[in-house]
Symmetry: C2
Subunit: 522 residues, 2 copies
């Protein structure tokens, strides 16, 4: 049977276990769409904007530890997806982008949609390849997959003529082995273990990536129990396993003063899957480094390593194997919201309710940037996965929840969503309705870019003049999230009091399917 | 008085006449925001997503022929705006992007929001400069402005430390002259004029850019009257002046068969501000060139030239100066929709109503891709400006209308908007509500990516299987544009019949301020 290049690409993806494709296609991808039509075992999930597509692929990859495919329409389609690919890159999420491109003959004609796709792709993709020969399609897909499986974004550029080329007997795809993790540097490891035995209380670990799963955290808790070492999670992480019965861990702040206070007194800082601790932004007042100047920073392992195995080895070498893990965060019971104003809806009251009611095995996607809150209130919530905005490119929350729901159809997704960032990719609500995804989205509606008001105050601009108000407030008119959600087929309700919020939350958690709660904060 | 770099940047823009800033800022741009706050003569227009910001800057630039500024937040903020910058590039619209960047000291720390901004900017910006020294701020802005004024997108990357650096006596900005248009190649011009005299009926012109303004079109009509030459507008154009009393011009098709038919028999094709005519996409069936193989293509002038002056010279040299211009399009009265089914809403019926009721001096922004229609029905509509999707990157319509309304507050804006592309940047409706812009948006709601259904049929995929339906339909659930608009503060109504549509249209045109009509087509 004769098959097109697009058929072979689709089959190669399926053989590698890539069976989910998030997409917003265009004309140049119609052969790929036709190929998907012939292979219904490839689950196709449409998004009405490419930021939804790539953010959903990120959520899917975070929950499955393997890549979904995206299908994007030339340079502009890729461009629309880049912000969430930036977040995927920072989360070390495996993703395979298929970017349609003009046919080889058409490209030099500089038709209106032509642009430099490689230049657009490279900043967010560790692997970029323009597919050039039909006989290499399977090898190209395998290479993109092998790269993605090391925790990176791969981008394949697919010219239309490769997509429509027919061949009778294409090469079988050689299924590459799952990449072997890199070996840890034994000298560095010895140095860390020696320091732990010698002055454990002066050693701090910063964990991210797969080091934040349940078993790895348990080993971290054992090491802490044995040596007195401190452990922190990176400020933002792709996925953390947490909640009741798991080892809670403190997150590092991205702010200068609290971040420095957390690391104060440490002499050695060991990175396991994490980046060197720095502030999110630079300020005129000094360096963005958070570690004490005199501390040694040991970059022990990155996403290419087996982070859980490394923590297990350290636990063994430190003689901590048989110890019960100790918590790595303060487990003081968080204060319940003040009962005197109990019906006034606050960020804290919302987060308290969610932590209290969180269903077992839920997945929490958190894009409430201006006021964290949920994390510290939920160490003892039901066991759950916790997914964050990793790269600071706002607009990840709704797509992330969408992709996580596709990856884990039997689990409840709870999306904590700021209003300003929610507007970036609100189109993802339609995909949730379309696919009947079990997502409860909670909009923290403060009607402003609250975080920027704070930054302006830091600059000493106290008196907001006309322009500043216009820039940072989302009021006048207020966004009506109940209508926005309904416009995309997602039922929704608004809460302006705590009691109403609990009521809506309980209703939403009880049913299956998408629901949105606008929690109006002022 | 001590001023920050951001103050100086803002002042330099104002001195150059750049007094409008479309923006979605972040922390790294707070000093610029503070500078804007001190200079209220800079009009600040917020967008809730960067695709709105850049598309509005495009609309503003098309209507004023001078650049607005955008203010974007690092690489991801720029990335979100790239698709509409791609359209601006294809429309030869002047735009100046200010992209915030980490401070020079913070950049090497690879904080989460760090990315390669130059690599992202270059594909859509002809001018890219990273600002490196505070003393060069004014010169950098002037260089970006000079480039933009030749009809290109300029991007300035503004590190935070330049933004916050204080200086007492900054250099005055030297206001550069408006760039002088390039000289036309006299040999080419002579060749064109000779051909017109010798075999005028075999000469075809393709016009775009400033060659599509009223006076230039009149000269084209004179040349045609004198020589029998054919004239076409490029398939998509940034702005055309048209309607009653102006010279109507036929647009070239981007489709192979009709495009070739339009150019058949021509021996010389002269490009004035236009690109060589090609199909929008390549197909397996042959070349994407539309001109006859044997035709000579003369690229006489681009956006860097004075296109109107060149047409005037050709008219003089061809001895056509004193002739009355002839229409360059078939002016047969378009058929009125069939009265037997007069209340069934069709694309044609909608466009007929709009052409009939269009207010004098309106601005029409057209992003109804799947079924053109309006253009051919409106040669005799009231005089208006006509703005199109130029680069094929969908999601321009709502932002374009927003920017045009800011540029021309006394004119009615009518946005013709397909539903699929409208969802890309629907956030622009909020800006329209916020600023009280006089925009009537008409959603052509066919509930599918209709254009892609057509492309699939070309591939012979007749029987839509499960995946194809899932990919190309926007049904299940249907988008409810009345609710979406209301959610952003824009009043709206739905028409499912012709009579209802006329009623809503008349109401919307009578009042001032934003209004949206969902014209539901099935």
């Amino acid at each position: 049977m004769s098959r097109t290049g697009a058929d072979r690409l689709c089959e190669a993806l399926l053989k590698l276990g890539v069976d989910t494709c998030f997409s917003n296609p265009g004309t140049s991808e119609m052969h790929f769409v036709a190929a998907l039509d012939r292979r219904p075992e490839m689950r196709y999930v449409p998004g009405l904007f490419e930021g939804v597509v790539t953010g959903a692929a990120d959520g899917y990859g975070r929950m499955t530890d393997r890549p979904a495919a995206t299908l994007l329409h030339l340079g502009p389609g890729l461009a629309n997806g880049l912000a969430n690919l930036h977040n995927a890159r920072r989360a070390a999420t495996p993703v395979i982008n298929i970017v349609g491109e003009h046919s080889t003959e058409h490209l030099p004609l500089d038709a209106p949609l032509t642009s430099d796709i490689e230049s657009l792709a490279r900043p967010m993709s560790s692997f970029v390849r323009r597919m050039e020969r039909a006989e290499h399609i399977e090898a190209d897909v395998a290479a993109a997959w092998s790269a993605a499986m090391t925790g990176v974004v791969s981008t394949l550029i697919l010219p239309a003529d490769l997509s429509w080329a027919e061949s009778k007997a294409p090469a079988d795809v050689e299924i590459p082995a799952v990449p072997t993790p890199s070996s840890v540097d034994e000298d560095l490891l010895s140095r860390v273990v020696a320091a732990l035995k010698d002055r454990g209380g002066k050693v701090g670990f910063v964990l991210s990536g797969l080091a934040l799963r349940e078993a790895a955290l348990a080993d971290a808790g054992r090491i802490a129990a044995q040596t007195g070492a401190r452990f922190f999670a990176q400020g933002s992480n792709g996925r953390m396993e947490r909640g009741r019965g798991r080892v809670a861990i403190e997150k590092l702040s991205y702010q200068a003063a609290p971040g420095r206070a957390q690391l104060a007194g440490l002499e050695i800082i060991v990175l396991i899957g994490a980046a060197e601790p720095v502030t999110f932004f630079g300020y005129p007042t000094g360096s963005g480094r958070l570690a004490p100047c005199e501390a040694a920073i040991i970059d022990l392992a990155g996403p290419q390593h087996d982070l859980a195995a490394i923590l297990a080895r350290i636990a063994d070498l430190a003689g901590a194997r048989s110890l019960p893990p100790q918590p790595l965060a303060s487990m003081a019971a968080p204060a319940v919201p003040d009962s005197s104003s109990v019906d006034r809806l606050t960020v804290r009251a919302i987060n308290h309710a969610i932590a209290d009611r969180l269903p077992e095995n839920a997945i929490v996607c958190d894009e409430v940037i201006s006021s964290a809150g949920f994390y510290d209130l939920s160490h003892e919530a039901a066991p759950h996965d916790y997914l964050q905005l990793t790269g600071g490119a706002i607009g990840i929350g709704i797509p992330l929840a969408t992709g996580a729901a596709i990856a884990c159809p039997d689990r409840k997704i709870v999306a904590l969503q700021a209003d300003g960032s929610g507007m970036y990719t609100l189109q993802g609500l339609w995909t949730q309705a379309r696919e009947g995804l079990d997502v409860v989205t909670i909009i923290f509606a403060n009607h402003s870019y609250a975080i920027l008001h704070g930054e302006m105050r830091k600059l000493g601009v106290e008196e907001a003049r006309r322009n500043v108000g216009r820039m940072l407030d989302l009021d006048a008119p207020r966004l009506d999230w109940v209508r926005l959600a309904a416009g995309m087929g997602v039922p929704a309700g608004r809460a302006t009091t705590v009691s109403r919020f609990w009521h809506l939350l309980d209703d939403a958690l009880r049913q299956r399917g998408p629901y949105l709660i606008e929690a109006s904060l002022a």
